[in-house]
């Protein structure tokens, strides 16, 4: 940060102000602030005074979604099940940020175990949208999006399993980047659906998001699915637009459709070519997702039994099963239980062929279609969401809530990198555009996004 280097502001002064702002912010975006960061801020100030900053991130305050573990800190994933659980280690991404000198100032509120699209399922109460507090901030990384949108911190980390970085970024008017699956280590991320989960940044600028991404990416010996991707070749020149295939005219509101048309025109003025492409119906991707996600979640969350870890019931029970069932009933919220039931059903002996294995096979069918389309175009452009942020409590139906991720889910199913950038607001509310590309094309997406928003 230039102000640090010029001596106009010290990281310590900055972090004190940030902690004050985080404690008094009004959207319920923060689960806990990390007071001990002041010691680290003093060390960062010393480094700047000595002209020995560690990196461009030295002294930069960062908020971490509360499903990413920080050594010595409680990690709850916004669930009663994990309240009081202290992490004995740093997630790889946190370790990398600390090594770069970044200052972890707080843990952000979210949907319980990242299951949700509105940040309403948190055991700590719902997060509100900073642009209109009667509306949701999106989810599940709603707290991270809110603190960045309020300008309290320049960057925050979120996790994206179906759109949980991009959708709140769009609802709050910030940049949200979902990296290629495997390009960022998941070690230390509370698992939801391990084959889709990715950690990524939310920021007020594409440049800041890229800076954070570059500092957290890379293969990690603690995550067997992580790897280094070779530098991409070529540039994105030709965009596919699934206008008809995704029924965008029907799904988008009038104003949102106008914003999308403006975005397409803007891309053309920047010299990009846009062509209509016949992508598979995104509702199939949503259906696949809501089989695979609950199956993986029901497996991942089986460890929370109140014995090894997790909430333990204080009542007396005659059997171990009663004790575990009761602990999980008390510890898990409604949406979590709903997914555990669907996942248990879809992976049960009599139904796994019809649901889980069929979902995997349909994924393969769709993948071949996407592969074919990516021979013709370099990337896809869509709105990030069909609507702007909806009112708190307005969406009660689970499937309707799942469909708020309709444009973001395909990137998770196939591990594509994707970015959401803000466009002109719709009636005062933020609205976002999404670009996604084949695996490993992360840097090209940053390049396009910078051109789109006029950075550099």
């Amino acid at each position: 940060m230039d102000a640090y280097s010029r001596g106009q502001l010290s990281p310590e002064e900055h972090v004190r102000a940030v902690l004050r702002a985080l404690k008094s912010e009004k959207t319920n975006a923060v689960i806990a602030v990390r007071e001990e960061v002041l010691d680290e801020a003093r060390q960062s100030s010393d480094r700047y005074r000595a002209g020995k900053k560690l990196s461009a991130l030295d002294g930069i305050p960062v908020v971490i979604k509360d499903n990413i573990v920080i050594e010595g800190q409680e990690v709850t994933a916004a669930s009663n099940m994990l309240k009081g659980t202290i992490s004995p280690y740093d997630a790889t991404v946190v370790q990398k940020l600390k090594k770069a000198g970044a200052l972890v100032v707080a843990r952000s509120n979210m949907d319980e175990f990242a299951m949700g699209s509105s940040s309403e399922t948190s055991a700590f109460g719902p997060v509100r949208n900073p642009h209109d507090q009667t509306r949701v901030p999106g989810g599940s990384s709603g707290g991270s999006a809110s603190v960045v949108a309020q300008g309290i911190v320049p960057v925050a980390l979120g996790s994206d399993t179906a759109g949980s970085i991009r959708q709140p970024a769009a609802f709050c008017g910030v940049v949200g980047f979902k990296p290629t699956y495997g390009s960022v280590s998941r070690f230390g991320l509370v698992a939801l659906a391990s084959s889709y989960d990715v950690i990524g940044p939310l920021a007020n600028s594409v440049t800041d998001a890229e800076l954070v991404y570059l500092s957290i990416k890379g293969a990690d010996e603690f995550d067997a699915t992580s790897r280094n991707f070779p530098p991409p070749k070529g540039k994105i020149k030709r965009f596919g637009v699934p206008l008809k295939a995704w029924k965008l005219a029907e799904r988008l509101g009038h104003k949102e459709a106008q914003r999308f048309e403006q975005a397409l025109k803007h891309l053309k003025t920047l010299g990009f070519e846009t062509v209509d492409v016949n992508l598979p119906d995104p509702e199939i991707a949503v259906a696949i997702y809501y089989v695979i996600n609950p199956v993986e979640a029901s497996s991942n969350l089986a460890r929370y039994d109140g014995v090894r870890y997790g909430h333990a019931s204080s009542e007396h029970f005659n059997t171990l099963y009663e004790r575990i069932s009761s602990a999980r009933e008390e510890g898990f919220g409604t949406e979590v239980r709903r997914r555990l039931f669907v996942g248990t059903f879809a992976s049960s002996a009599g139904y796994q062929d019809a649901y889980y294995k069929q979902a995997l096979n349909v994924t393969g069918v769709l993948r071949t279609q996407y592969d074919a389309i990516f021979k013709d175009v370099d990337a896809i452009v869509t709105p990030t969401t069909a609507t702007c942020a909806f009112k708190l409590g307005a969406v009660k139906d689970p499937v309707e809530m799942y469909l708020s991720d309709i444009f973001t889910v395909p990137a998770n199913i196939f591990g594509f990198p994707a970015i959401s950038v803000p466009t002109d607001p719709v009636e005062g509310l933020p609205f976002g555009m999404q670009f996604f590309a084949p695996q490993g094309q992360d840097s090209q997406l940053f390049s396009v996004a910078k051109q789109f928003v006029g950075e550099g």
Binding site: A287, T319, S326, V342, G364
Partner: protein, 102 residues
């Protein structure tokens, strides 16, 4: 495939399998919600996968009637699964040994 009818009995079974208690106040809601979600995801049944060859297939290393050497009997791993009987937890072998030679 015919859609699954989600009712109290299925929710009870899932509650046991998932080890998540279901209080009466939430049971009806779960019946409705799980039913709705399963009805929605049923659309994947309509997608033809005949032309698609899964990249991950069942291991070809052993056919149904083939025997091969292993370092333990397969039932050992699955034996001693505790189960509930007459209100108490019992531990005993619950699976028959497979067709395996040592």
């Amino acid at each position: 495939m015919k859609s699954v009818v989600v009712g109290d009995k299925l929710i009870d079974e899932l509650s046991n399998l998932a080890r998540v208690g279901v209080g009466p106040h939430i049971a009806a809601q779960l019946v409705a919600d799980v039913g709705e979600v399963l009805e929605y995801v049923d659309r994947i049944q309509k997608v033809s996968t005949k032309e698609f060859i899964p990249s991950v297939q069942k291991s070809p290393c052993r056919k149904d009637n083939e025997t091969h050497a292993v370092w333990f009997k397969p039932n050992i791993i699955r034996a001693n699964i505790p189960h509930q009987k007459d209100g108490a937890i019992h531990v005993e072998e619950t699976f028959v040994t497979g067709n395996v030679t040592e």
